[in-house]
């Protein structure tokens, strides 16, 4: 059993389709990570360097500031990004992984 698993892992690691999958998966995961980092630190640095932008009212004479939808927007973006990742990983990536394992078994 263990020997079989070891041999399968060995074959998978040299498989071109697996390598291609890993390139796509890692590009996708790191791109989403970067998007989250940029959005969050963009928000934090705006707070630190240009708080006046966030304190600006959305409409003339209103009290709701631009900062409110932006802050809530960061929270919603985080949720949407996790949704995007799960959808692609649980369908495309998992199906490809299963196909590779079936083929090399």
């Amino acid at each position: 059993m263990a020997a079989d698993t070891g041999a399968l892992i060995e074959r998978v690691s040299r498989d071109p389709e697996f390598r291609d999958l890993e390139r796509r998966r890692s590009r996708f995961a790191w791109t989403l990570t970067l998007i989250m980092v940029v959005i969050y630190f963009g928000f934090v640095l705006t707070v630190a360097f240009a708080p006046a932008i966030l304190a600006r009212p959305l409409v003339e004479g209103g009290v709701t500031t631009l900062g409110i939808p932006l802050g809530i927007g960061v929270i919603l973006t985080a949720f949407v990004l996790t949704g995007l990742y799960v959808r692609r990983a649980n369908t495309d990536f998992d199906a490809t992984t299963e196909r590779i394992i079936e083929r090399l078994k």
Partner: protein, 528 residues
């Protein structure tokens, strides 16, 4: 004496004890004890993660921060949430594929067990201790205030219940306590936010306008205030929150309770949704408290001439804003409900922490480091139960000792340690083939020591706690520096590592990578 609160709390305790009994009967193997036998679904785990993460401190603390300074509370909430996508994209499924019970399983997958598990256990216990002290002190004060129970008794009640859940029901009981608590907290907070919004005809603009009229700081509560002072502190705190989440041992442990990588991913998706929704609710609750409480002297300590301090004068402090609001919108019955929920929240969080700490002692230190893998499963579980008991006793003692200390910095420090020790070791062992044992140990300890050292020398501790005139480290959050030191340490020492074992560890990366990405062999490991 709040009769409704006590009755509802007793109902919660009775329910959770029945569940704990049921869980104890189902808990036989180590996999049952540490990981609920891998039988939790993605949705349930998402709720349980949310339960682990939404502490009383974040419910009362963030709504209190919004109450005191408006928009600043939102800046804080955002920071607490953005770590979740990182957990999903980089950690969750790989953790599930490589480990069994603790995150040290993953770090030690191709590195040497003894040093790596020792490091991970120290990192885990440091995070657990800091987090637990902050929770215990907060719990004691809150329970004293809400239920009229003396501080020490409150500590003992919390300690006894958390040890009971963990030591008898293991992960199954802990998970269901988290799930029930998450539902109660989300339900209670939703009701409060809805009541507030209804008051303003579901117009945010009307709510904000009324808040700016009631708050002494007026319109300035709608923009960034005093929370962020300098960019270095802001970035440093941001890093601690974002990457610390991916290094919290009690959270990482939850990914072993699900069947596979698919379910691990789904749990983060649901958890992010629940936690994000919860933070939006606390924001509405905070603003609701400004509008509905600030003009009512009943919630404040009276001062001369009928005047009162609209922020500092709140009875019980600004952290009580959500509690007072529950009375304003739902009367004493709902006040009782929210008080009981706050108590349940504390219990659930400390139970999760206790289980993580006990697992680090039994699974990493005892079974691996001392017994070198020769301990039987039953002995390991017994050690874990004893550890839970010891952690409970220590937590009560620490809670007692720290009663009148400033513990506000401790949760931040817990996140900084998680981001500077646990996360770098985990991430580098998963992603970089060049990581060696020596590198991970040196870098991990460097991160741990520097995070703690810098916080001790920071204004929050050196000046406010020890009373020295001048801080030796100027920033309150160390993560920017300590995380950098940890990653650099792991990289440089691994690069310089010429030992024979280092070559074997680098060579073992290819097989680890296949397993971490595909889960081949992972199912077999968890069925041991």
């Amino acid at each position: 004496m709040n009769v409704e609160a006590i009755a509802m709390f007793l109902l919660f305790v009775a329910t959770t004890l029945v569940i704990t009994r049921w869980a104890a009967q189902r808990t036989r193997t180590a996999s049952d004890f540490y990981a609920a036998g891998g039988g939790i679904t993605g949705f349930q785990n998402g709720l349980a993660i949310a339960g682990d993460f939404m502490s009383a401190a974040s419910f009362l603390g963030i709504s209190g921060l919004v109450f005191a300074s408006g928009f600043d509370g939102l800046i804080y909430s955002v920071g607490w949430l953005v770590g979740w996508p990182i957990v999903l994209f980089l950690i969750a499924e790989r953790l599930r594929n490589l480990g069994r019970f603790t995150f040290a399983d993953v770090a030690a997958f191709r590195l040497q067990a003894t040093p790596i598990r020792t490091l991970s256990a120290v990192g885990t216990l440091a995070v657990v201790a800091l987090y637990l002290i902050a929770q215990m002190v907060g719990a004691g004060k809150l329970i004293e205030l809400l239920f009229g129970l003396p501080y020490l008794y409150a500590e003992i009640v919390v300690g006894v219940l958390m040890v009971t859940y963990v030591a008898t029901g293991g992960m199954v009981a802990t998970t269901w306590v988290q799930i029930i608590k998450a539902c109660l907290l989300l339900g209670g907070a939703s009701f409060m936010a809805l009541a507030v919004l209804m008051h303003f005809g579901f117009s945010f603009e009307a709510m904000f306008r009324s808040a700016t009229e009631a708050h002494p700081d007026g319109i300035s509560i709608m923009g960034p205030g005093k929370l962020v002072t300098d960019p270095i502190s802001a970035i440093s705190l941001g890093l601690a929150l974002m990457f610390g989440t991916a290094g919290l041992p009690h959270i990482l442990m939850r990914f072993f309770t699900v069947k596979d990588a698919k379910a691990a991913r789904k749990s983060v998706f649901y958890a992010t949704g629940f936690i994000g929704y919860f933070y939006i609710l606390t924001f509405i609750i905070g603003f609701g408290a400004i509008t509905l409480l600030m003009n009512d002297p009943a919630y404040f300590k009276a001062a001369d001439g009928g005047l009162y301090d609209k922020i500092g004068g709140m009875i019980g402090g600004t952290n009580m804003a959500a509690i007072h609001l529950s009375k304003a919108v739902g009367g004493s019955l709902f006040l009782g409900f929210i008080s009981a929920v706050a108590f349940a929240t504390i219990l659930a969080v400390v139970a999760g922490l206790t289980l993580a700490g006990a697992s680090a002692v039994s699974h990493d230190l005892y079974a691996s480091v001392f017994a070198k893998g020769r301990a039987s499963e039953q002995t390991e579980i017994r050690i874990s139960k004893v550890s839970a008991l010891v952690i409970g006793v220590v937590a009560i003692l620490l809670g007692y000792v720290f009663e009148n200390q400033n513990v506000a910095f401790m949760v931040g420090l817990a996140f900084a340690v998680a981001a500077s020790c646990n996360f770098p070791v985990l991430a580098m062992s998963i992603f970089w083939s060049g990581t060696t044992t020596r590198g991970a140990v040196v870098g991990g300890f460097l991160g741990l020591a520097s995070a703690i050292g810098m916080v001790v020398l920071s204004p929050a501790v050196w000046v406010k706690t020890f009373g020295f005139p001048q801080a030796l480290f100027p920033y309150d959050s160390p993560a920017l520096f300590s995380m950098t030191l940890a990653f650099l340490g792991i990289y440089v020492v691994s690069k310089l590592d010429r030992s024979a074992s280092a070559d074997a560890e680098r060579a073992a990366f290819a097989a680890q990578f296949v397993r971490s990405e595909t889960g081949i062999g992972a199912g077999a490991a968890s069925a041991h």
